[in-house]
């Protein structure tokens, strides 16, 4: 699929009207990263419930439609899920979430930034370090 096909209604809508945008106080997890090559930034805050679920989640950041829509969609998807679920998240899950099968190497980093941020935060919270395969 061509990379510009990604710019469908759905994504542009999430980009223009991001769900779960903002900050969360208090929070249990806070994680932030940027894509050094393009400058996309995403910060995610999570409130964890006593049974280790994502009780609430917010993101903020700046960047392209793909990185920001992806972050917004991910927060929607993650809400209510157990932290363990985050560990299992894969590139394929994110592509499916965005409704595409491929993005090309240049833009995939934009799409995956929020997953990386969320994983880093969750692993840190769970006391484990981020595994290589997820970097």
């Amino acid at each position: 699929m061509s990379s510009s096909d990604i710019y469908r209604e759905l994504i542009l809508d999430y980009y223009r009207n991001p769900r779960n945008f903002g900050k969360l106080d208090p929070h249990d997890i806070e994680s932030r990263d940027s894509n050094p090559l393009c400058g996309d930034e995403v910060e995610i805050q999570v409130k964890v419930s006593p049974d280790n679920k994502i009780e609430d989640i917010r993101f903020h950041g700046k960047g392209c439609a793909i990185s920001q829509a992806s972050a917004s969609m991910l927060t929607e998807l993650a809400k209510g899920k157990p932290l363990e679920w985050v560990k299992e998240l894969s590139k394929e899950d994110i592509l499916k979430m965005l409704g595409t099968s491929d993005l090309g190497p240049a833009r995939i980093k934009c799409a995956l930034l929020s997953m990386k941020v969320l994983k880093t935060g969750v692993y840190g919270y769970l006391g484990a370090s981020l595994e290589d395969s997820d970097r």
Binding site: S3, S4, C38, G39, G63, I66, A106
Partner: protein, 412 residues
Amino acid sequence: MRSQSLDAEGVKADFPILKKKVHGKRLVYLDNAATTQKPRSVVDAVSGYYTKHNANPHRGVHQLSIEATEVFDESRRKVMRFINAARFEEVVFTSGATDSLNLVRYGWGSKHIKGDDLIVLTIMEHHSNIVPWQLLAAEKGARIEFVGITKEGELDEGRFEELMAESPALVAFTHCSNVLGTINDAKKLCSSAKRAGATTVVDAAQSVPHMKTDVQDIDCDFLAFSGHKMLAPMGIGIVYGRREKLAEAQPYRSGGDMIKEVHTSGATWNDLPYKFEAGTQNVEGAVGLGAAIDYLEALGMDRVRQHEEDLLDYALQKLEGAPGITVYGPKRPSDGAGVISFNLGDIHPHDIASILDEEGVAVRSGHHCAQPLIEELGITAATRASFYVYNSREDVDELMNALAKARRIFCI
């Protein structure tokens, strides 16, 4: 009589890659400030070197080594003439502009910069002309001041002069901004800095490829640029150094070929420029750079500059006539090099670049390795189109068509 203008279509035919189709579209390569494409003559020079002369220069007495030495020296002489250096030994081969600037940092800076010294930079520097000085300053306890820009995207010369009054030890600035295209008056800045007692470093990565450069006229102490941004191969660069400055610098990389003698107790250094060229030299890169210079000189650097001014003029007209476009930097061609950075509405530059790519138009998007400038402009990123000898007005038209598509997708 005005010199005949450059024949972009004829030039285009010399660049095999420009026949490539991208997503079924003609490749319109407008990412020249990042790296340039290579004419057949440069690719052939590289192949020819490997199929005819390849050896270690300087070190062997056998025929190939003699030939490698000859082509290597000849390339250095070509560079010397191209930038009008006074001496052969003032031209040092490096692996690129970044490497060149690091050579100045480690070679001259680490030896001569002291605690409380002032280093003056400008806000329009590329990271390669910022980070080495930040690290040097941190190491020595020196202080850095950044000269800002005016609303028009020109250097704030008043502020520059103010800082000169504080007797800086080092002044490093870009000859031409890789984001705004702003051309700084290198001669004037160097003269002020010299009067203030500073050592001057000119980042010429974006000027040497695009305009006649004369290091003796500019009267700088160091000047750095990359081969790959001027039709030459990757992995080769130059640092010009005034002889006295090179002589008072210490080696940067050390090892084979930069020494006179090595004993278990210590070593002594080779003559200039070899003192700064440790390890097996990149003869291929030097030969490629020589061939690139030949190509540019055959076109004529004045015509190269004229051609880019024409394109810039045309592109600025088109862009300013288009809805939603904000252009950064100087608006008059003679003030700027063939680089235009802009934004379209609130569309993120990456999204623009992706959409343009679908149309075969290659541009850069992001911070262009100049984050402090991007911050100063109050934006997070920009889209950049940059021109070179093979670009034509048709390429600008393709750019405008592709931008119109982006506008449609994002409903602007």
